[in-house]
C-alpha cells in the first residue's frame, strides 16, 4: 500500500473518532428534543459545568472560593483532600440530577405551551447563567481532568502498521489517540444502553410516549413533569460523559461549551429526533471535515473545520429538509 493511501485511512479513522466525540454531545440534544420539543442550546455548557464540577469535587476545591475571597477578604481555595474518582463521578451525577430538577421546577414548568423559539431562547439564557455560575463556583482557570483514562498515541498500532507501506517510502505508522478509542467504546456502550433503556423499561416507554404526543401521554397518566426531570437528568449524564471525554482531551475550559455549536450540524444531518441519526451524522461530519481539511484545506488557507460541517449539513438539508433520519415533516393548513 502506498503511504498516501495509508495517510488517507488514518485521516478517515481520526475523523470517525472525532465524529464520535461530536455525537456524544449531539445525543444529549436529541434526548431533550424528542421528549420535550426543546432545542437545548445549553447542552454544551452542561458538559462544561459537569466537567468543572467533577474536577472541583475530585481535587477538593472550595466552591465559590473566588466570591468568598472577594467579599470577606479571605484566601481559601482548597479543602486539602482528594476524592476518589468513582465517588466524584457519582457526586457529579447527583449534581446534574439536582440541576435537572431545578430547571424543571423554575424554568420549564413556567414555559409550558410557549412557542419553540421562546423555549430555545430560554435555554440560551440558561446557558449564559450556567456559564457564569460554573465560573463563579469553580473558577475560570484551565483545569486538567484526570480520571485515569489512557492518553497519547497507541504505540502498538504504530509499530503494527509500520510495515504496511510500500518499500522505500517514508512512513512512521498510523497515529491514533488512545483516548479517542476509549471514547468510541464509551459512546457505543452509551447508545446501546440508552436504546435498551428506552425500548425495554417502563420509564423508557413513558419517555417514548411523551416524545410521540404530549397530550396523549398525559391522558394515559404519564406525568410530564417527572418525565422532563428524567430526560434532563439523562441529558445531564450524557453531558457529563461528553465533558469527561472532551475535558480529558483538551483540558476543562470555556471552549468546551463551544462543542455545542459543533454538535448542531451533526444534529441537522442526522435529524433532531433520531438517536442513531446523531451517531451517523457525527461520523459523516467527522470524516467529512477531516478529509476536506486534509485534501482541499491547504489549497484555500486551512482552518476549514470551522464552517465545513455547516456547509455540508446545509447541502444535505436542501435535499432532505428533515435530516437523514428525522421524522418526515408533514404540513397541514
Amino acid at each position: 500500500m502506498s503511504a498516501d493511501f495509508l495517510y488517507l485511512v488514518e485521516v478517515i479513522l481520526n475523523g470517525l473518532m472525532a465524529g464520535v466525540m461530536y455525537s456524544l454531545v449531539a445525543l444529549g440534544f436529541v434526548l431533550i428534543f424528542k421528549a420535550s420539543g426543546i432545542f437545548n442550546y445549553a447542552q454544551g455548557v452542561m458538559a462544561l459545568f459537569a466537567a468543572l464540577t467533577l474536577v472541583g469535587i475530585q481535587t477538593g476545591q472550595v466552591p465559590f472560593a473566588h466570591l468568598i475571597n472577594a467579599i470577606f477578604g479571605t484566601n481559601v481555595h482548597h479543602f486539602g483532600w482528594q476524592v476518589p474518582t468513582v465517588l466524584a463521578i457519582a457526586l457529579t451525577v447527583g449534581v446534574m440530577v439536582l440541576f435537572a430538577i431545578l430547571v424543571e421546577r423554575y424554568v420549564l414548568h413556567h414555559l409550558v405551551n410557549q412557542e419553540p423559539i421562546i423555549l430555545f431562547m430560554a435555554t440560551i439564557g440558561l446557558a449564559y447563567f450556567m456559564e457564569g455560575f460554573g465560573d463563579i463556583m469553580w473558577g475560570s482557570d484551565i483545569k486538567t481532568l484526570d480520571v485515569g483514562l489512557p492518553s497519547g498515541g497507541s504505540r502498538w498500532l504504530e509499530d503494527y502498521t509500520l510495515g504496511w507501506a510500500a518499500e522505500g517510502e517514508r512512513y512512521y505508522g498510523m497515529y491514533l489517540d488512545k483516548l479517542d478509542m476509549v471514547a468510541s467504546l464509551v459512546a457505543i456502550v452509551l447508545v446501546v444502553s440508552l436504546t435498551i433503556f428506552s425500548q425495554y423499561t417502563k420509564t423508557g416507554r413513558a419517555l417514548r410516549a411523551v416524545a410521540d404526543d404530549h397530550q396523549a401521554a398525559l391522558s394515559v397518566g404519564i406525568s410530564l413533569r417527572t418525565i422532563w426531570v428524567i430526560v434532563w437528568a439523562i441529558a445531564g449524564f450524557v453531558a457529563l460523559v461528553a465533558g469527561i471525554m472532551w475535558g480529558a482531551k483538551s483540558g476543562v475550559q470555556f471552549s468546551l461549551s463551544l462543542i455545542a455549536l459543533k454538535a448542531l450540524p451533526v444534529l441537522m444531518l442526522g435529524g433532531f429526533t433520531s438517536i442513531p441519526g446523531a451517531i451517523i451524522g457525527g461520523l459523516i461530519i467527522g470524516v467529512g471535515e477531516k478529509v476536506f481539511e486534509y485534501s482541499i484545506g491547504p489549497l484555500i488557507g486551512g482552518a476549514t473545520e470551522n464552517w465545513f460541517a455547516y456547509v455540508l449539513a446545509l447541502m444535505f438539508l436542501v435535499f432532505r429538509p428533515q435530516g437523514l433520519f428525522g421524522e418526515k415533516i408533514i404540513e397541514r393548513v
Binding site: I118, F129, M130, G132, D135, S140, F272, T304, W307, L314
Partner: protein, 358 residues
C-alpha cells in the same frame, strides 16, 4: 387623561392611515425626536456617547433588521454577526478604494452589498424551516467570518489582519476616525437609526410587511392565498441584511474605529442581537429600540455597580454579569414572553381608560 381618542376626528383617508393615529402618540413621537436631535447632543459627553448612546443606536439598527426577519417574517437567523461583518468590511473597502465618496453613500452601499449576501444565504429558507434553518444560518456566520479572515484582499493585506477606519467628513464635519467629536458621531448614527426605523415601520405596514407576516403565521396557507413565498422570504432576508449591514458599517466606522473580524463579529454578536429582539418584543419596531437599550445599558450599569461600587475584581464581575444576563433573560421569558413592547402595549391600554377603568 392620556390617549384620548374622542374628539380626534379623521376627515381624510390620509389622516386615517397615518402611523400614529392618536394625537398623544404623535406628540410623544415629536417630543422624542426633539430630545434625541437637540437635547441629547447638548449634554453629550465623551463617556456617555461612547459607552451608551452610540452603541445603543448601532445595536438598535441591528435589532431592527433582525426583528424584520425573525419577528415579522418568522425566519430564525443566527447569522447576524457574519452579516454585520460583511457590512463592516464593505465599508472599509469602499472607504479605502474611493476616498472621495461621501459617508452616507458608503454606508448605504455597504448595506446593499450585505443585502445581496443575505438574500443569497436566505435561499435555503425556501426548503429548510424552523430550527434547521437557524442552524443553516450558522453556516453563514462561520463561513463569512472565516472568509473575511482568510482572504487578505478584504483587509488590504494589513499585517495584523485588522481593519481601521480612516478619517472621513460629511458636509465638512468629521464623522469617522479618531478626530470625530462625540456629537457628530452620535448625530450621524441617529440619522441612520431614525431613517431606517421610519422605513421599517412603513414597510411592515404595507404590502410587503403583510406578506411577511402571512408567511410567519403559516407559510402554506400564505402560499395558497397568493403570497409568493420566494419573494416574501428573500425580500425579508434582503431587507433585514440591509439593516444589519448598515449597523455593522456604523459599528466599525463610527463606534469601534478598528475591528478584527473573529473578535468583533463572533457568534456572540448574533446571540446578543437575538436577545435584544426577544427581550424587546418580536414583531415590534419600538421593541427593537428598547431591547437594544436594555442590552447596552445593563452591562454598563452592572460594571459600575460591581467594579466601581463594590470593588470586585473585573473577572468576577464579568462572571456575575453572565449570571445576571442569563437570569434576566429567563425571568423575562417567563414573565412576559412577548417582550418589553408588550408591556408598553398593556400600559397603553391601561392609560386609555385611566382614571376610570370599567
Amino acid at each position: 387623561m392620556f390617549y384620548r381618542e374622542s374628539g380626534d376626528f379623521k376627515k381624510t383617508y390620509k389622516l386615517d392611515s397615518q402611523t400614529f393615529p392618536i394625537k398623544f402618540d404623535r406628540w410623544r413621537y415629536y417630543f422624542v425626536m426633539l430630545v434625541a436631535f437637540i437635547v441629547v447632543p447638548m449634554f453629550l459627553t465623551d463617556y456617555s456617547a461612547n459607552a451608551v448612546m452610540i452603541p445603543f443606536l448601532v445595536w438598535a439598527i441591528a435589532a431592527l433588521g433582525l426583528n424584520i426577519l425573525v419577528g415579522y417574517c418568522g425566519q430564525l437567523s443566527l447569522g447576524t454577526g457574519g452579516f454585520m461583518a460583511v457590512g463592516a468590511y464593505s465599508t472599509y473597502k469602499l472607504m479605502t478604494s474611493f476616498p472621495g465618496m461621501d459617508m452616507i453613500s458608503v454606508i448605504m452601499l455597504s448595506g446593499l452589498v450585505t443585502a445581496v449576501v443575505g438574500a443569497f444565504f436566505g435561499l435555503p429558507s425556501l426548503r429548510i424551516k424552523g430550527f434547521y434553518l437557524a442552524v443553516v444560518t450558522l453556516a453563514a456566520q462561520f463561513f463569512l467570518v472565516w472568509l473575511l479572515n482568510k482572504v487578505p484582499w478584504f483587509y488590504n493585506y494589513s499585517a495584523s489582519g485588522q481593519i481601521s477606519a480612516p478619517q472621513r467628513e460629511l458636509f465638512g464635519i468629521v464623522v469617522t476616525g479618531p478626530h470625530a467629536t462625540p456629537v457628530a458621531a452620535y448625530l450621524f448614527c441617529l440619522i441612520f437609526a431614525v431613517g431606517l426605523a421610519w422605513i421599517a415601520r412603513n414597510l411592515t405596514r404595507g404590502r410587503m410587511g403583510r406578506s411577511w407576516m402571512a408567511i410567519r403565521d403559516m407559510d402554506i396557507a400564505a402560499e395558497i392565498i397568493g403570497v409568493n413565498p420566494l419573494m416574501a422570504k428573500l425580500s425579508a432576508f434582503a431587507v433585514s441584511s440591509f439593516f444589519i449591514g448598515v449597523s455593522g458599517a456604523l459599528l466599525f466606522s463610527v463606534y469601534l474605529g478598528a475591528a478584527e473580524v473573529t473578535e468583533a463579529f463572533s457568534i456572540n454578536v448574533s446571540f446578543a442581537v437575538l436577545f435584544m429582539v426577544i427581550i424587546g418584543g418580536l414583531g415590534s419596531i419600538f421593541g427593537s429600540f428598547i431591547g437594544a437599550a436594555f442590552m447596552v445599558l445593563m452591562p454598563v450599569l452592572l460594571k459600575n455597580i460591581l467594579v466601581g461600587g463594590l470593588g470586585w475584581p473585573t473577572d468576577l464581575a464579568a462572571h456575575f454579569e453572565l449570571i445576571i444576563v442569563g437570569g434576566l433573560i429567563l425571568v423575562f421569558l417567563i414573565v412576559e414572553p412577548h417582550g418589553l413592547a408588550q408591556m408598553a402595549r398593556v400600559l397603553k391600554e391601561k392609560l386609555r381608560l385611566w382614571p376610570f377603568p370599567h
